[in-house]
């Protein structure tokens, strides 16, 4: 059996005296698709933010790419491998293309390759007709698709999606679900936090349940 892509060990998160969760071990396999479920307040978003390096106020170790780091010392290079998309994604007030190429520029992707990936992201998200639309004028579903495409274009080793279908209308939800299924089909390593039963039931997703301060694999 191959080594997991990412492994968390002895992760503890507390708010003052109250421990939110304590996770002895959690391993995510490369190419795996995971759906993180649990009641409100169980810490799904917090766990994702720790994995993305946005919350360093926790204890525990992260094993990634053969290296072990304390979550409080989250290294910059991990940001190039793990990409987190907010529940309500933020699109910069520039243009859709600029949003799609932002992370690619940060990574120093050459012009020609960057242009190719941006075009591919536009086509993947189905936003060809909305390229000239200012991001603030996009619908909730379109913003979500743009944010997914922006994150996917970076080809991260792990994609963290926080409630990607929440607050979307029926059409936006259906389109986002289709993109999630596509990510699974592309064998991207992805973890989705959600309550949405349709996402939870997506084929090929392993269910992780965060509840009562612990995490467990859930079957069925």
């Amino acid at each position: 059996m191959s080594a997991p892509l990412l492994e968390l060990r002895a992760l503890h998160k507390a708010f003052g005296p109250r421990e939110l969760f304590g996770i002895p071990r959690l391993a995510l396999e490369a190419g795996g698709a995971y759906v993180l479920v649990g009641p409100n307040g169980s810490g799904k978003t917090t766990l994702m933010r720790i994995l993305a390096g946005l919350d360093r106020d926790a204890r525990g170790f992260l094993f990634f790419g053969g290296e072990s780091v304390h979550v409080a010392d989250y290294p910059e290079r991990l940001r190039r491998s793990i990409v987190y998309v907010h529940q309500h994604p933020y699109l910069f007030h520039t243009s859709l293309r600029h949003n799609l190429e932002y992370g690619l520029k940060c990574r120093g992707v050459p012009d020609a390759e960057r242009a190719r990936r941006v075009e591919e992201a536009i086509s993947w998200s189905g936003l060809q007709a909305r390229v000239a639309t200012p991001p603030a004028k996009l619908s909730g579903g379109e913003k979500q698709r743009a944010a997914l495409a922006r994150a996917r274009a970076l080809e991260p080793q792990l994609l963290l999606l926080d409630e990607p279908t929440s607050n979307l209308d029926r059409e936006g939800r259906a389109q986002t679900l289709a993109l999630l299924a596509q990510l699974r089909a592309e064998r991207r390593t992805v973890m989705v936090a959600c309550h949405d039963q349709e996402v939870i039931r997506l084929e090929g997703f392993t269910r992780l349940r965060l509840e009562d301060g612990g995490i467990a694999l859930q079957s069925g």
């Binding site: 993305a52 390096g53 946005l54 910059e76 940001r79 190039r80 990409v83 987190y84 998309v85 907010h86 309500h88 994604p89 933020y90 910069f92 007030h93 520039t94 932002y102 992370g103 940060c106 990574r107 200012p134 991001p135 603030a136 004028k137 922006r150 994150a151 970076l154």
Partner: protein, 231 residues
């Protein structure tokens, strides 16, 4: 008092391109623009740091900068005068009664405006801006610049306000500039002088220029904000 006659004369002076008037206008404009250009970047940087980071004494620093906002400008002029006067610690620079002294004063007056406005703009920014930039792989500097870009209209408002305060400042400009004709006389100091002399035409002409500049800058800002609002 007859307002029509001096107002007509004021327009005549402006239309005739009176050299004395033009010299005063030019001095006011270049000194104010240069002062804001020099002080903007460090002030915006300081405002950003005060808004985004936590360090011991940070709150005191913010309160201090806020207090500077309501500091009487004549006191700023007095302190500068004492610093720049021949016997002062900076007297060797021989800047007193030169446009450079006025420029330094403008910078001191504009600094707290720029800092406080920047703090307000950055603190009002959506926290997801910085986080999104970081999540997409931006380093600390790039993510900070992205955040500033996202609140650019608030920052522009800071710059416009700083410029407005500078170009209309009288007390400090008289104290450290001396209101010397052809050298340090600018729009507000000239208005003050001509009014006391009873020469209202030049005062009205310069007042009109000041109003046009203020209006122009604010209209440009509103136009930019309108454009941004569409996004």
């Amino acid at each position: 008092m007859d307002l029509l006659e001096p107002t007509t004369q004021a327009f005549r002076l402006l239309l005739a391109g009176d050299p004395e008037l033009l010299r005063i206008i030019w001095l006011s404009l270049w000194v104010s623009v240069a002062a804001i250009a020099l002080v903007a970047a460090p002030s915006i940087g300081l405002g950003f740091l005060l808004a985004m980071t936590r360090f011991p004494g940070q709150r005191t620093l913010v309160v201090l900068v806020q207090a500077l906002l309501s500091f009487p400008t004549v006191v700023i002029g007095l302190v500068l005068y004492l610093l720049l006067s021949r016997r002062g610690p900076l007297g060797f620079l021989e800047l007193l009664f030169t446009p450079w002294a006025i420029m330094i004063g403008y910078m001191v007056i504009a600094l707290p405006i720029l800092v406080v406005f920047t703090i307000s703009a950055v603190q009002g920014a959506d926290p997801r801006v910085y986080e999104t930039a970081r999540c997409l792989g931006a380093g600390l500097l790039k993510a900070s610049l992205t955040t500033l870009w996202e609140v650019r209209f608030g920052i522009l408002a800071a710059v416009v306000n700083g410029f407005g305060r500078a170009i209309s400042e009288v007390g400090m400009a008289i104290m450290v500039g001396g209101n010397i004709a052809g050298l340090t006389r600018n729009i507000p100091t000239a208005i003050a002088l001509e009014t006391t002399k009873g020469d209202f035409a030049q005062g009205i002409a310069l007042g009109l220029v000041l109003m046009v500049v203020a209006l122009g800058v604010n209209v440009a800002l509103a136009a930019l904000q309108g454009e941004g609002g569409l996004r």
